[in-house]
Symmetry: C2
Subunit: 462 residues, 2 copies
């Protein structure tokens, strides 16, 4: 009654578990490959299929999502190949023993040849709106599901949080991404840094991410430096002065022992002209009270706060009158419940399809989002078919990949950042607020409603 | 009053944001490098420092943690180097303009030369117990903080969840890791698969992860295959028979339209000898009722369930009498709130240190965990100094890296899996339960208590 267990007697082949883009063809769920083999066997692999990626519901407490991760998705589609050694590894599993021989030649010759439609990175989207559509030969469109969901789910989550945090903190606040130690793998820290900066953050402390993204890394100092210098060479002030000598632009972390005592001593040093202090960081305690006291002691110094912050805590700090100019965000930015994007077949060979499982109904057909603005504010969206015409609305999905080729060059992070800011500014107040936010109204177009009913009926009578 | 903003006008240098172990030296927070430069300037870089990695509190609702990720940590320490191009990139930032020249030669010649003590992967640990200690020249021990926390925080979280799920599901259940599409980056999906299998799962659907780990990948089929084959070639049964022809050992997904109708038709096919069905999967609906009905229709077939499952839902399904033999776990396994490990300086040049910020006190000195068992069950732990002697207790931290060299070969995943099972079996009932679990009592040894008081006093009078 049991299926065979896998054999885990063998030792890991690759202890480091790092990842190169050359690995990505195998970064997929097994069933994508078994289904592909099945399609080949049935001569269906070249049937034209359309899959759409969307979320059924927004994450709890969110009124919108900021789409992100498309760049990594397109880069993946462009480079995707199966090497001879990857094909041998698949064959060696024995799982494909009954698969048709043509399956292997298909993998050998494979490159992604389809079209992709997507909303640009930094666009606000809501539940049941397609973020991306793949139109490609059935087996190709199926194969890429896992990676596309992986990159878009995660970066969209981080971008949305980052946009909310920027919205709450205000345009003047400095927002620093400090999450690497809590990110879910080294690569997750890179993707988090990218999405955070593209959605409004100013910098990341992650050196590798910053260099890869063409940004300057940012950071202050750790408690351990104060502890180490205090233990070996004397006072906390010696630690401050020493670090400041080498990194005069860096903020000093003042709460290792007693933040106010440290600020008082620093105020004297500033007054005496012994230090040109630019910033201090508080990482514990009552940030409202402490920041107010530090501000009165060091009025010309930038005050950074960190320590398990999120958009809620920042809103609370501001409301209570904290004197904080910059925030370092880590854990709450880069981890948590995901944006649960799904990727569903909506059409094959021109025939609309939909999943009709209980409570999981999807809309059939290839769709477009039509967005209506008034004085720059979103009035509502209409989700329709690609054949529908805009009615003084803006269609959001654009073609980004055509017959296997990119339509445009990668965007600058700054362009995406600008688009995100515009997107957030276009949201109604009730969509932006943190407490019980509400998405704008999403209408289903008459033609899509009709097609949905028709597709449902076909299935019911079949 | 503001610090300079970083320049994000430039385009991303590396759009794919993949990661190689050669990148890992820069996968660190900027302050690790600026502090290192400061230590070099002060001639303190070779001072012998000890840092310990631990969690202050267990994640909400957890009674224990299963330590995991050490293998990747050791692999990192072994391979860590700075290449000339990495050093140039750091210099080009301008951040280190006032850093001493010796800093650059230190990076050039760097290899990790310290000792590491750690609990073996698969060990159960509790709050305030060191999972790992690095004893190394100050700057080296500091530099590696970010990566060590990254690997151990994430894999420990996944391993703990996987162990809890195995504990609830029982030894007979098949547990499959399906989380790649929701994992926080491709590399996160690899690390999640490793940690899940090492802590008791049977397999992963992630082909790359399985191959890297030396396991067989596992999976069933997707709704899209049923939809595609139904749309192009006829009935749902045709879809089943077709897939079964190529993958006779694979379970069939039966809930695309109506799970019970599908099971009834499959039962007829089984009876007529037209299909040698091994398994079916349910991904939606009332899993208790559906699985019971499917069991009565297909008594000899393995029933898999999936769809946003976690240990709580599995416990509920079992309590309500669901007939489920295997579970596919994704989102709830691989995402969520992290294990908030921290890495704190506990000694420098033989001088014990502790952070004394409000509510964030740490224990000073190099420590050992002494665990007391009775009839194989943990009676309690005593956290003491390394100079304390065990009192009919088992010391948990072992030396794993000595003067920059691994003390032992990497472990087989199966060894770690076995250790995890033994560890969970050794936990008291109140620690294993899902509802308000309680950790065993953790005692602070007399010598550690004394040292803590002494270190606090020193600081207060200084």
């Amino acid at each position: 009654m049991k299926l065979d267990y896998p054999d885990i007697e063998q030792i890991a082949l690759d202890q480091e578990l790092s990842i190169s883009c050359k690995d990505y063809s195998l970064l997929t769920d097994l069933y994508q490959l078994t289904m592909a083999a099945c399609y080949v066997g049935e001569g269906l692999e070249q049937r034209q299929a359309s899959f759409e990626l969307f979320v059924r519901h927004l994450p709890e407490g969110f009124g919108y999502l900021i789409a992100m991760g498309l760049e990594q998705a397109l880069d993946y589609l462009e480079k995707l190949r199966f090497s001879p050694s990857q094909i041998s590894a698949l064959q060696a599993t024995g799982i494909f023993a009954d698969a048709p021989a043509e399956f292997w030649s298909l993998l050998t010759e494979f490159r992604f040849t389809g079209d992709v439609w997507a909303v640009p990175e930094g666009t606000a989207v809501f539940a049941n709106e397609p973020i991306l559509r793949v139109e490609a030969p059935l087996w190709q469109a199926q194969l890429v599901e896992t990676y596309l969901l992986n990159t878009i789910n995660y970066q969209t989550l981080i971008a949305t949080r980052a946009a909310r945090i920027r919205d709450v903190a205000g345009v003047q606040a400095q927002l620093l991404e400090f999450g690497t130690r809590r990110a879910f793998s080294p690569q997750a820290s890179l993707w988090a840094a990218r999405a955070a900066i593209a959605a409004g953050f100013d910098a990341t402390s992650n050196v590798l991410a910053a260099l890869k993204l063409g940004c300057q890394p940012s950071g202050t100092m750790a408690h351990s430096l104060v502890m180490a210098l205090t233990a070996t060479s004397g006072s906390e002030d010696d630690a401050f002065m020493t670090f400041h000598e080498y990194f005069p632009d860096s903020a000093l972390l003042i709460d290792t022992y007693d933040a106010i005592a440290a600020a008082e001593r620093l105020a004297k040093l500033v007054k005496a002209g012994e230090i040109q202090l630019t910033g201090v960081r508080l990482d514990s305690g009552d940030l409202v009270k402490l920041s107010q006291q530090v501000r009165s002691l060091l009025p010309d110094v930038t005050i950074f706060a960190s320590g398990d912050l999120d958009e809620w805590k920042i809103a609370e700090l501001k409301e209570k009158g904290a004197c904080i100019d910059g925030y370092g965000l880590g854990t709450k930015l880069v981890t948590g419940a995901p944006a649960n994007g799904v990727y569903k077949l909506v059409e094959i060979d021109g025939i609309p399809t939909m999943k009709q499982s209980l409570n999981k109904v999807t809309y059939p057909g290839r769709k477009q989002i039509f967005r209506k603005f008034e004085a720059g504010i979103i009035q509502g969206d209409r989700v329709g078919l690609i054949t529908d015409s805009p009615q003084a609305e803006q269609p959001l999905l654009q073609i980004v990949f055509k017959q296997g080729e990119r339509v445009q060059q990668p965007e600058h992070l700054n362009e995406i950042r600008q688009r995100t800011m515009t997107a957030v500014a276009s949201l109604p107040t009730e969509t932006r607020r943190l407490n019980h936010p509400q998405s704008p109204s999403i209408e289903i177009s008459a033609s899509l409603r009709k097609l949905t009913e028709k597709t449902q009926r076909v299935k019911t009578v079949s």
